[in-house]
């Protein structure tokens, strides 16, 4: 597989991989490192890419695994990393700051367990089908729906708490 073909296959997924990595690692620098790493791994095994039915799902799985590994080693080394995302990547940051309700949703999402974060990201942000999410998570559709329902309800609970607090 030539580099152009490889890029044509994988590059359209770049931002999706990045957003998933950022959802998990929070830091945009680390998320970019993760994407770079996943691309390198895919490039090294490029001759196998065609064997996968869904290269994007495969890349997503790799990204997810890479990020979870990073989080584990972070915990193992017992480092408390403080994330300071300077508004380098532009408008979104400003939008989020301008809209308190939206930034609250992101803050709530940060407190969710990893699996729920991933499911929410894949379904509500990236709009993958249930079977695709199951493929990415190496799980089944029922488990995906259950995790998704829990994640949505957890966000709802926090959101309504804050909302009612703000209203009253």
């Amino acid at each position: 597989m030539k580099q152009e073909d490889f890029i044509a296959t994988i590059l359209p997924s770049k931002d999706k991989l990045y957003r998933l990595a950022k959802r998990l690692l929070v830091s945009s620098d680390e998320a970019e490192d993760a994407v770079q790493e996943v691309f390198l791994k895919l490039w090294k095994g490029k001759h196998k890419i065609k064997e996968y039915k869904n290269p994007e799902a495969f890349a997503m799985t790799m990204t997810k695994n890479y990020c979870l590994d990073r989080l584990k080693s972070r915990q193992a080394s017992n480092l408390k990393i403080v994330h300071s995302n300077y508004p380098t990547t532009g408008n979104l940051q400003k939008q989020v700051e301008a809209n308190d309700g939206v930034s609250l949703v992101f803050k709530i999402m940060e407190t969710l367990p990893e699996k729920q974060k991933i499911v929410l990201q894949l379904r509500d942000v990236e709009q993958f089908e249930y079977y695709e999410i199951a493929e990415i998570l190496e799980s089944n559709e029922t488990a995906v729906r259950v995790a998704l329902s829990r994640a949505r309800k957890a966000v709802r609970e926090e959101l309504l708490k804050q909302y009612n607090y703000g209203v009253s």
Binding site: F6, R19, Q95, V102, V105, Q127, R145, Y163
Partner: protein
Amino acid sequence: MELAKVKKLLDNYFEGKTTLQEEKALQSYFTSDFVSPEVKAYKPLFKGFADAAQETSNLKVNLPTAKKRSFKAWYSVAAILLVTLTLGGIYFSQPTLSKEEQEALAAYQKAQDAMYLLSHSLNKGTQNLTYINKFEEGAENLAIINQFTKTKNKILK
């Protein structure tokens, strides 16, 4: 969308029972300007997801270029070629003879040996010729003796 329908979809949404299409309908309802106050609390949720999907990365992906790789591969190919060529050159520069040539050479060798043997025996023959010379000398001496006997015979007469 009617409020009742929105509420129904919301219920299904939280149970994980909505289709992508239904979720898109919810998203477009909540990102519109006409959201019923009754469900307004959910506005930031769908707005947030919609915003999050817009985020992009400026990352320039660095792949080790194929050119570099093939260059390195070509180095080893060149090295192997060089070694085989030199070894081959050394090997083939040694005279290697075809079967015919080898036979010819053997024949030549045999012929040479035979000639040598011949000349050697010829030399032996010439050596023997010296004896003939001696014989001639002897014969001359014999002639002198003959003369001597002739004169002796004359005297005796």
